[in-house]
């Protein structure tokens, strides 16, 4: 197991390195002068701007800038926000909990809706329940989450006043954003789990289990459930980044201070260090989460461990 983790971590190194390069390069491609961004509103003279450019190291050749950037990264220093002059690490960290909570809650919504629905539908393909599940999943993928969020607020907080319209720190205020963000993924999971269940139910070992006298429920719980949860787990891992950025709009609508919305505004206002920091953090988080997913899949399916051992 440790071996597996080590190998995976080793494989992740070039990816993380690549992420830092991308973070660095992509942002430099965006037009607009960072010095001007910093001095926005200061009515700065060209000389002041030039001085600031020099201070920021923007006059250095690009590879030197990257070397400095990477060197700082190694020390855990993600730079200083152009806008607030606070450290990027601080800015990200102070917003991370809210986003993580929202992301986790959405995933929970997705799993709690998607997996049972998929199981039930897959057990009886073609049944009324299955048809229902499939329509739900179709609708789930089709409704844009931002539109859903708007509708949910209008109905459940403005009209019915069941949930608060903006975040107030309570779990209750998490319900609407989590549902609007998790709904689409619930739909995806439903489809995946359903397909997998159908496939598993057709497999030889299920036939063999039936030949030993296993009933439907036993087959579902003891034979199929574990195998069928693999696509759910891997999908969540792969979609992690997308859920996180999907949170950007949801966060804005529900007045949550989170990474997603922060990242979006930072990109549009060309707050370079923040974007770089966030890209690196998101990239690394993605790598780590998928490592965790691999471990989890390994725990579910012993064959994958074997494969990794090679």
């Amino acid at each position: 197991m440790t071996l597996f983790v080590l190998r995976r971590l080793g494989a992740a190194v070039p990816v993380v390195l690549g992420i830092t390069v991308i973070a660095f390069v992509l942002v430099h491609v965006v037009p607009g002068d960072p010095a001007k961004v910093i001095l926005y509103g200061a009515n700065a003279s060209p000389e002041q701007i030039a001085a600031l450019r020099q201070q920021l190291g923007l006059d250095l050749p690009i590879w030197r800038q990257y070397a400095d950037f990477a060197g700082q990264l190694l020390h855990g220093n993600l730079g200083t926000s152009f806008l607030t002059q606070n450290s990027v690490a601080f800015e990200l960290l102070s917003r991370a909990p809210s986003t993580l909570v929202l992301t986790a809650a959405s995933m929970l919504v997705a799993i709690l809706i998607g997996v049972p629905l998929g199981l039930v539908a897959g057990m009886r393909p073609g049944s009324v329940l299955d048809t229902l599940a499939r329509w739900i999943s179709f609708a789930g993928v089709a409704v844009p989450y931002f539109f859903l969020a708007l509708l949910l607020v209008l109905v459940f907080s403005v009209k019915l006043q069941w949930f608060s319209a903006i975040d107030d720190g309570t779990a209750r205020s998490l319900v609407l954003p989590a549902v609007s963000l998790g709904w689409g993924y619930a739909a995806i999971l439903t489809r995946l789990v359903r397909g997998r269940v159908i496939e598993e139910l057709r497999s030889d070992y299920v036939k063999a289990a039936r030949a030993r006298g296993s009933g439907d429920v036993r087959v579902l719980l003891r034979q199929v459930l574990r195998n069928s949860s693999v696509p759910a787990v891997t999908t969540i891992g792969l979609q992690f980044g997308n859920i996180l950025t999907g949170a950007a709009i949801t966060e804005v609508i529900f007045g949550r201070a989170g990474l997603g919305s922060f990242l979006a505004t930072s990109i549009t206002s060309k707050n370079i260090p923040v974007v770089q920091g966030a890209v690196v953090v998101i990239g690394v988080a993605y790598v780590l989460i998928n490592l965790g997913v691999d471990l989890l899949v390994g725990a579910i399916d012993p064959r994958t461990r074997q494969e990794a051992r090679g």
């Binding site: 991308i22 073609g126 499939r134 609708a139 539109f147 397909g195 996180l244 990242l263 993605y286």
Partner: protein, 313 residues
């Protein structure tokens, strides 16, 4: 009402009345037919459906849906029906072209990665991994911020953001196909790598790619509208579902029609794209080439033909 590809390949548990089976095929075909027709009309001549100028303002502003304005009017008195119809163009164009771009790039990178020697493969696929680790919206946002606004940027954004996912799938398929015996067989009689790629790999990838691409269109629509919802890549006052939805968002309580119709349009498009994609997946037997004449033939009839042939002497 099976639309799932997996359940289509097996016999069903209980014999079902032919009517429902037929209906299922009909829905798939109808969805595809409607999708194609709509696509053509919306892209080529939206004016056929809505002859009111979508940007023409009038004094009749903020009117609810009525006979003269099917979907009502907005703050500037523009006809929402016309805006919804004409608004399809940027979204569809962006998602179709974007997905097309991603498909082309993904296939190119995937095939390259798949047939290249180990070192090149590692290099290419690591790069793909890097982009895969970055969320689609993030890539899109950065590109929009770079390339400025307009459909072109959204196309580019979707193209770039979707490419790594495609490349990954294609690469693993190529690697699988390369081990396929018929590809090895080609090596035995001395087919060059280039020829093998062209004759065997790419044609056999095609179905998969078509299916992948059609299922990505829904995501493309969602991404495109998300970007324009954020006010990025928008050209005013041209109609656009995302930005029109966003513009009406504050009016949802008092003038629901402003956001609702663009929202429904997005939903319908994604739904249709998914239906059509599912149908494609069902009718495009991986064992045969993509022959488009086949798309509108009933799936059941075709499959039985192949089955019969398969076991026959």
């Amino acid at each position: 009402m099976t639309t799932d590809p997996l359940s289509m390949t097996v016999a069903t548990r209980t014999p079902r009345p032919v009517g429902i089976k037929g209906l299922k095929a009909t829905i798939g075909r109808a969805a595809l037919l409607v999708a194609v027709l709509l696509l053509v009309v919306l892209l080529v001549a939206p004016g056929l459906l809505a002859h009111v100028d979508p940007v023409a303002t009038s004094d009749a502003n903020l009117r609810g849906p009525s006979a003269s304005h099917l979907f009502g009017t907005d703050l500037l008195g523009r006809d929402i029906f016309s805006r919804t119809v004409h608004g399809a163009r940027p979204v569809l164009l962006a998602s179709l072209l974007g997905v097309l771009l991603a498909t082309a790039a993904g296939v190119a990178i995937g095939v390259l990665g798949g047939v290249a020697p180990r070192l090149v493969n590692a290099l290419v696929m690591r790069l793909v991994d890097v982009f895969l680790a970055l969320p689609v919206l993030l890539i899109a946002l950065i590109l929009i911020a770079t390339a400025g606004s307009g459909v072109r940027s959204i196309v580019l954004a979707i193209g770039v953001a979707f490419t790594p996912g495609f490349a990954r799938v294609v690469e693993s398929s190529v690697r699988r196909l390369r081990r396929a015996e018929y590809v090895e067989a080609a090596r035995v009689f001395g087919s060059t790598t280039l020829r093998t790629s062209w004759r065997h790999l790419i044609p056999n990838l095609l179905t998969e790619v078509v299916v992948l691409g059609s299922s990505a269109i829904g995501w493309g629509v969602l991404t495109a509208t998300t970007l324009s919802f954020l006010g990025l890549g928008v050209r005013l006052p041209a109609p656009d579902w995302g930005s029109d939805l966003a513009a009406g968002a504050t009016n949802l309580a008092d003038a629901w029609w402003l956001s609702t119709f663009p929202g429904l349009a997005i939903m319908a498009t994604i739904l249709l794209a998914n239906f059509a994609g599912d149908h494609l997946m069902r009718v495009l037997d991986p064992r045969e080439g993509v022959r488009f004449g086949r798309l509108f033939r009933p799936a059941a009839v075709r499959r039985s033909a192949t089955r019969d042939g398969g076991d026959d002497a």
